[in-house]
Amino acid sequence: MAAMNMIQSINSALDVMLARDPKVLIFGEDVGYFGGVFRATDKLQEKHGLKRCFDAPISEGGIIATAIGMGAYGLRPVPEIQFADYILPAFDQLVSEAARLRYRSGGEFWAPITVRSPYGGGIFGGQTHSQSPEAIFAHITGLKTVIPSNPYDAKGLLIASIECNDPVIFLEPKRLYNGPFDGRHDQEVKSWAGHEHAEVPEGHYTVPLGKAAVVREGEAATVLAYGTMVHVALAGIEDSGIDAELIDLRSIVPLDIDTIIESVKKTGRCVILHEASRYGGFGGELSALVQERCFYWLEAPVERVAGWDTPYPHAFEWDYFPGPKRLVNALNKVMQD
């Protein structure tokens, strides 16, 4: 075991897989010699060689197209898209090609690619370095979407994703890279040091895709979150004084429906929390699933706390970002009802 922040644990996952499987290779903008703008691929080129981890042209569509072709050949490429905001030029490749290849070819070809990309806000990155696009991937049949919330999970989920034979969108909450962030932006920045989930095994292990984590047990309400919002949720629950159960979804496809339903049936109340703008966000799907399956157990409407229906507004970062206070309000609301 070693203490790692999330960048280190992701780097470690990649390092382990490069060493273990010659079919694994990494490419993306600035990932080679430089080691990536967030240092996720630091030293991997030096250690494993130029051809295992190299720079790509600024062409997200080209990166994913190339990765799919490599996957079809039999490799397990792990392309990086520098920011999830910039994954959109590759959207057609991901949807029409990666997600559909196995199905349309009758199982003859498939694309075992893992697309890593930093996502989410809270870093004063402005409109195009802050967005959370998970909902548009969750809707795509044939894609898996994984979102870790701590160093231990990040490494285990990333290894599981690389070993998975389906295309995986692996969204890394960039605000969590260096430390947990609970949305209390006016307080001192925390590091991962000393956090229980920052103890990470050096070698190979997996955290299975599709298995949520119950981060906090509680009886009064269920909070569903993923990524940075897991930490915001913990803070909000603490502030609220309400005995809420917190579930970290870890992957939104596949979704651990059983854990969700079991919890809501127990608590009778549910709040969903995500950074992405609310309308058409993944919270809608979660809300629908919960009320479809737990209607008769619900004591109050399922609430959603999310980003507003505006682009990500730089100067208004903390007005936009759903912090603990908004969760407290929602928890109070579901408890009142």
Binding site: A56, G62, G69, Y73, L75, Y103, R104, N165
Partner: protein
């Protein structure tokens, strides 16, 4: 207000529309044998004339001439002829099957059969092509089972793609034929990635990709060429310039301004422009590019200049947007006829052999259609319902399990 002149928007138009006189007079067609054949080791800057000419081997007297003559054995040429003839017979029969309501869709490759046939035979087993919907002759040249083609077209219980795909969007891994999709262009970059993977793996396999001239306008085309150029990918990138993209003439893709082969220059790779109706020229150019790829010299772009002799698909009527007699004025002729005449000219073939082969192929196609019809045509037979849910992922998640249950109820 400034006193500058007014601008005006230019919109390209073909030189003839229905009711007008078609003309190919603007084409400059060099004589067969006229274009030099450089060494595959020649640097790119010495090759910049090649995109502006037209590599041709079969001359007006049906002889194979000049430095690009691949000097093929009679066997290989007859194999190619057979694949082209089989493609045409199959296209005719299945187009008719669509008219009869046996399938939802069909597309012919009439006039373009030399391309897939020559390239399929010129490449190795294990090499991978990334096809468009217009290279059926690739599969024909490699003896893909006819009945499986028809089963796919009829989407019946024996459809190798389990009823999931539109007719003719085949996938045939063992035949070096990558999975097709309805989206045009989006597999061009896959070929580059596949080729890079082969190089990464120190394998000796190369990739070959097709794209229509209309589709070169997609960003995918440029991204594929950029990656191919930067990483010296062992890939042969082919633009099939059949001069039409549904109802749009090639000018809408930039053909008034330059050739498609010239796009190679912007990536610092060789660009060859080839008579796509000349089986031998296609073969030779492909072999040249394949040798470059195999010797780690990287990618080549080949423009295969041809003509889409029929409609785009079963969904359009070409006489609505181009003169009905345009096909007959097209100067580069019919690839089947040209290879046939060459074989006859060299004394190894004759009209009788040709007729007997044609009827053999026709019988084979009819038999395949019959066999597939026994299983069922569109709507009369389909794969088991589970196949709607298989292969979405390697393994079902609960959604698919629940939904399959619901469908079954």
């Amino acid at each position: 207000m400034s006193n500058r002149a007014k601008l005006s928007l230019y919109v390209p138009e073909p030189n003839a529309r229905p009711g007008e006189q078609p003309s190919f007079d603007h084409l400059e067609i060099p004589a067969a044998g006229a274009v030099r054949c450089p060494d595959i080791g020649a640097p790119e800057h010495e090759l910049r004339d090649l995109p502006y000419t037209l590599i041709r081997v079969l001359d007006e007297q049906d002889a194979a001439v000049g430095p690009w003559n691949p000097k093929l054995s009679t066997d290989r040429m007859i194999k190619g002829l057979r694949a082209m003839m089989l493609t045409r017979a199959f296209d005719d029969r299945l187009f008719r099957a669509h008219r009869q309501g046996k399938t939802s869709f069909y597309m012919k490759s009439t006039g373009e059969e030399a391309i897939g046939a020559a390239q399929s035979l010129a490449l190795d087993q294990g090499d991978m092509s990334f096809p468009t919907y217009r290279v059926l002759s690739w599969l024909m040249a490699r003896d893909y089972p006819l009945t499986d083609l028809v089963n796919q077209i009829f989407n019946n219980a024996k459809d190798p793609l389990q009823g999931r795909q539109l007719p003719i969007l085949y996938s045939a891994r063992d035949y070096g034929f990558y999975s097709l999709s309805g989206n045009v262009g989006s597999r061009f970059g896959h070929a580059v990635g596949w080729a890079m993977a082969s190089a990464y793996s120190e394998d000796d396999k190369i990739a070959l990709a097709y794209i229509g001239e209309g589709t070169t306008a997609e960003g995918d085309f440029h991204e594929a060429l950029t990656f191919a150029s930067v990483y010296h990918a062992p890939v042969v990138l082919c633009v099939t310039n059949n001069q039409w993209a549904i109802s749009s003439f090639a000018g809408i893709a930039g053909a008034e301004e330059t050739t498609f082969a010239a796009k190679a220059i912007g990536y610092g790779i060789p660009g060859l422009r080839v008579d796509g109706n000349d089986f031998l020229a296609v073969w030779a150019a492909t072999q040249w590019a394949a040798e470059r790829a195999r010797s780690n010299r990287g990618a080549t772009l080949i423009e295969l200049f041809t003509y889409r002799a029929e409609g785009h698909s079963t969904s359009d009527d070409p006489t609505k947007y181009r003169p009905a007699d345009e096909a007959s004025t097209w100067p580069l002729g019919d690839p089947v006829e040209r290879l046939k005449r060459h074989l006859i000219a060299t004394g190894v073939w004759d009209e009788e052999k040709h007729a007997s082969l044609a009827s053999e192929l026709d019988i084979a196609v009819r038999a395949a259609v019959k066999e597939a019809e026994k299983i069922g045509t569109l709507g009369k037979s389909k794969p088991p319902i589970e196949q709607m849910f298989e292969d979405v992922f390697e393994e079902h998640d609960w959604r698919l399990v629940e939904q399959l249950r619901e469908v079954r109820d």
